[in-house]
Amino acid sequence: MGSHGIKDRVAIVGMGCTRFTEHWDKGVDELLLAATGDAFASAGVDKEQVDAYWLGTAQSGMSGLTLSRPLRLRDKPVTRVENFCATGSEALRQAAYAVASGAYDMAMAVGVEKVKDSGYQGLNAFPIPGDGTARTLTAAAMFSMVAPAYADRYGVSEQEMRTVLARIAAKNHANGARNPRAQFRREMSVERLCAMPAVAGGLSVFDCAGVADGSAAAIVVRAEDAHRYTDRPLYIKALSFVAGDGGGLTDPAYDYTTFPEVAASAADAYAQAGVTSPRDELAMAEVHDCFTPTELVLLEDLGFAERGQAWKEVLAGGYDLDGALPVNPDGGLKACGHPVGASGLRMMFEAWLQLRGEAPDERRISTYGSRSLALTHNLGGYPGEMVSFVSIVGV
C-alpha cells in the first residue's frame, strides 16, 4: 500500500497548444487537429507512432471516437476521460501511467473543450437526472465565499482583500498580455479591477476565469527513450490526484479558507518528487485560478506561503514573473480562459516552454536557469467538494 509515483520514469517529449480564445470558426475537430498536429511536430513523430491516446473533455464529446474520428486513427486504443475541471491533467496522468506500466511505448494525452457553442455565457454543466435538490448556484458564487472567510480569519480588511484579489488578477492579466496564446492580452490595473461591479458575492466578472475554447496535447515516452525525440525532455517527477468525499459542504468545522483536497494532493506530489521546500525548490507554478480567491488559498494549500500570509506576498509581488516564485506566468485561467478539458495540459505547456527556455523574453520567469522544477495544479468542483491534481515536472 502506498502512493509511489513514477518519478523520472516517464518524460514529455512533445507538446502542442492552440490559442485559447473564442474560436467561432473552429469546432472540436479543428481544435484537436491543431493541438495534436503541433505535438506530433514537436516530438517529430506521426500519429501511427503513438500507441495509445487519452482524450480529456468534460462535455465536448463522448468516447474515444471524439478523437479517433478527426485524427483518422485506426486500430488504436483511444479513451475519453472526464474529471471535472481537472480533466486535461487526468488525461496526462493516464497516459503517463500507461507508459510507465510498460503497456505502451508512446502515448498521447489531449485535452479539448468547445465551450462557446452553448449560446450561454460562462460554463454550463450537463444536466444529470436527479431529484431536483442539488445546489444550483454558480461556481463563482461558491468560491466567492472564500474571500470573506479568509479576510475574517486572518484579519484582512474588506478593502485590503479587494486589493489583494485585484492584485492577483492584475498579475495574471499582465502575464497574459505577454502570452500570444492567451484569451485576454491586455493589462488591467488594480484600480480598474477594484472598480468592477460584483456579480457573485464580492467577485466581479474580472475575478473569474475567462471562458474560451482551446486544446492542448502532450506526448509521453519512457524516460530512457526521451532523448530519441528531444534534447530537452520534461521528466515527470510526480502526479497526484485526490477526489474529496464532499464532506466539507456539511462539516461545520470547514471554514472556506483552505481546500483540504489540494493540500493532500500537494503533500502526495511533494513526497513522490522528493520536494521538501516547494517555495525554495520550484522554478514556477501554474495553479488553478478559476477565481481570484481560489489562487490566494492555493498559494497556501500548495505550501508557497504560510497560512494567513499569502495575501501579503501577493501584495509584495512574490508571485509575479520577476518574483521569488512566479505563479501562472502564462496568465492562468484568468487570462487564458478555461476550456475545461484543455486547461491542465495548457498549464503543462507553459512548464514545457519555461523550463526549456522557450518562453519569450518578456515573460521569462525570474528563476529560469537557477531552478528546474515546475508544478501544475488543476482542480475541479467547489470548496467542500472538489478533485485536485498536482504534478511536478523537471528538466
Binding site: 436527479g130 445546489r135 463563482a140 458564487a141 465565499m145 456579480v199 472556506y256
Partner: protein, 448 residues
C-alpha cells in the same frame, strides 16, 4: 363532540401596496396592502407552511389530510400528497384534494370533522386578477390549517355546535380552467342571492345550536363577494363590533383559505365559552356555530394571524406581476434548469419533501433552525427571481448544509443571522414543480 384542536396560518412575507396599482394599470388598486406569495410559493407550499404552524402548536397523529384550494399547483395529480410528504405524515394517513372553489374548503373541513381520528384541513389560495381589476386589489395569498378531531384526539378548543349547508346553483363568479382571472356577474345579483342565503343559513344554524343572536360573540362572514359579506353581516342582528374584521386592510381576501384563516384569527381573541359563527358565502352558504372551550385559554398559536398580518415587506407591483406570470420579463441568460427526475425524486422523497436524512439520521432538519456561517449573493445563477442568495447554514444541535435563502433582502443578510427551513418551489420545468427546502430569516415570534 368534534371540534377544532389547533390551527396554523401562513401569510406570505410580501405585501403589495394597493396604491401602486393605478399608476401602472391606469385603474384599480385602493388603499392598504394585500399579501403576495413569493415567486417560489404556490398553494401547496403555503399549505405546508400553515400545516406546519398548526402541528407545531398542536402536535398530532394526523390520520387524514384534506387540502383545499381554488388554484391547485397540479390537476390530475394530487397536491395533498406533497403536503403529506412535507409534513412527514404516516404512510397510512390519507391525503385528498378538494379543489376548484372556495366552497371546496368548507367541504374539506366538513369531511375532516366527520372522519375517524385526528384530521388536518388545509386550505390555501393564490388570488390574482387582471391588472387593475377588483380581484387583484381585493385578493390576498395565504393558507390556513385546522387540526380537527374529538376529545379522544386531544383537548378540543372549539366544539362544532351546528353546521348548516345550503346549496344553490347560480353564476356569480366563474373561471375557465387555465385562465388567469375570474369573471363576475353584475354585483347586485350576487349580493341579493347571498344576502338571502346567508340570513337563512345563519338562522338555521343558530337554531340548531340553540344559540340566540345576541349570544354570538363573533360573526365571521367569509366569501369572495365582499359586498354580499358586508350586507349579510349588517343584516344579521349581530352588533357591528362583534363582526370579524375580514383583514382587507393588510391581507386581502384569501379565497379558499379565508374561512379557516378568519376563524383562526377569531379564535386567537376568543374567550372560553364564546360562541363563534363562521358563515361562508360560496355557491350557497355554510354556517358553522362553534363554542370555545376552557382549553382555548391554554392554547398558544405558533404564529398568530395578527402578528403575521402586521409583519411583511413591500413588493413592487412590477415584481408581483412578474411573479404571477402577468408580466413577462426577460429570463436570466442561463440554461433553464432540467425537470427533476420523477424516479429519483420518488426514491429520495424523505429528503426532498420531508427534509429528513436517510434512515438512521439523527432528526429531520425541517424543524430545526440554524445560523448562517457564510453566504453569497449569486447574480449569475439561474433563478426565477434573481439574484439567488445562498447560505451555509449550521443547524442547531449539529449539521450543516448550504441552502438557498428566500424572503430576504440580499443587502441585509449577515453571518450569524438566524434562519429556519421553509418548503418552496424552486422552479417548474416541463410542468413539473420542483419542490425542496430553502431557509428564511427567523422573524418575530416564529422561532421555536
Amino acid at each position: 363532540m368534534h371540534g377544532i384542536l389547533g390551527w396554523g396560518v401562513h401569510l406570505p412575507h410580501h405585501r403589495l401596496d394597493r396604491a401602486q396599482i393605478a399608476p401602472v394599470a391606469g385603474t384599480g388598486g385602493g388603499t392598504g396592502t394585500r399579501t403576495v406569495a413569493s415567486y417560489d410559493e404556490d398553494t401547496t407550499t403555503m399549505g405546508v407552511a400553515a400545516a406546519r404552524a398548526a402541528l407545531r402548536a398542536r402536535p398530532a397523529g394526523v390520520r387524514s389530510l384534506w387540502f383545499a384550494t381554488a388554484e391547485p399547483a397540479y390537476l390530475d395529480k394530487t397536491n395533498a400528497t406533497a403536503v403529506h410528504a412535507a409534513l412527514r405524515l404516516d404512510r397510512d394517513a390519507a391525503a385528498y384534494d378538494a379543489v376548484g372553489s372556495v366552497r371546496s374548503a368548507l367541504g374539506a373541513l366538513r369531511a375532516a370533522l366527520t372522519g375517524p381520528g385526528t384530521a388536518l384541513a388545509v386550505a390555501a389560495d393564490l388570488r390574482a386578477g387582471l391588472p387593475g381589476g377588483p380581484d387583484e386589489a381585493e385578493g390576498g395569498d395565504g393558507a390556513a390549517a385546522l387540526v380537527v378531531g374529538s376529545a379522544a384526539d386531544g383537548p378540543v378548543l372549539a366544539e362544532v355546535a351546528a353546521w348548516v349547508s345550503l346549496t344553490e346553483e347560480f353564476t356569480d363568479r366563474w373561471r375557465v380552467p387555465g385562465k388567469p382571472a375570474s369573471r363576475r356577474w353584475e354585483e347586485r345579483f350576487g349580493e341579493v342571492v347571498y344576502a338571502r342565503l346567508g340570513a337563512e343559513a345563519l338562522k338555521l344554524a343558530l337554531a340548531e345550536a340553540g344559540v340566540a343572536t345576541e349570544d354570538v360573540a363573533r360573526l365571521i362572514v367569509a366569501g369572495t363577494h365582499a359586498r354580499a359579506a358586508r350586507t349579510v353581516a349588517a343584516g344579521s342582528g349581530v352588533p357591528a363590533g362583534r363582526v370579524a374584521d375580514r383583514l382587507h386592510a393588510t391581507v386581502g381576501n384569501t379565497g379558499a383559505a379565508q374561512p379557516a384563516m378568519l376563524l383562526a384569527a377569531a379564535l386567537e381573541t376568543a374567550a372560553p365559552g364564546d360562541h363563534l359563527v363562521l358563515l361562508t358565502l360560496s355557491d350557497g352558504a355554510d354556517a358553522i356555530v362553534l363554542r370555545a372551550t376552557a382549553a382555548l385559554a391554554e392554547y398558544r398559536p405558533a404564529a398568530p394571524v395578527a402578528e403575521q398580518a402586521a409583519a411583511g415587506a413591500p413588493v413592487s407591483y412590477g415584481a408581483y406581476l412578474a411573479w404571477r406570470g402577468l408580466l413577462r420579463v426577460e429570463p436570466p441568460r442561463r440554461p433553464e434548469p432540467a425537470r427533476p427526475s420523477s424516479s429519483a425524486a420518488s426514491r429520495n422523497a424523505d429528503w426532498k419533501y420531508g427534509f429528513a436524512g436517510p434512515p438512521g439520521a439523527p432528526r429531520p432538519m425541517a424543524d430545526v433552525a440554524g445560523t448562517i456561517a457564510a453566504f453569497t449573493v449569486d447574480r449569475l445563477a439561474y433563478s426565477p427571481s434573481p439574484p439567488m442568495v445562498f447560505a451555509v447554514v449550521d443547524f442547531d444541535g449539529g449539521g450543516r448544509l448550504p441552502v438557498e435563502l428566500t424572503d430576504v433582502d440580499a443587502a441585509e443578510v449577515a453571518v450569524g443571522d438566524r434562519v429556519e427551513p421553509t418548503f418552496r418551489r424552486l422552479f417548474t420545468a416541463d410542468g413539473i414543480h420542483n419542490y425542496f427546502w430553502k431557509a428564511r430569516p427567523v422573524r418575530g415570534g416564529t422561532e421555536r
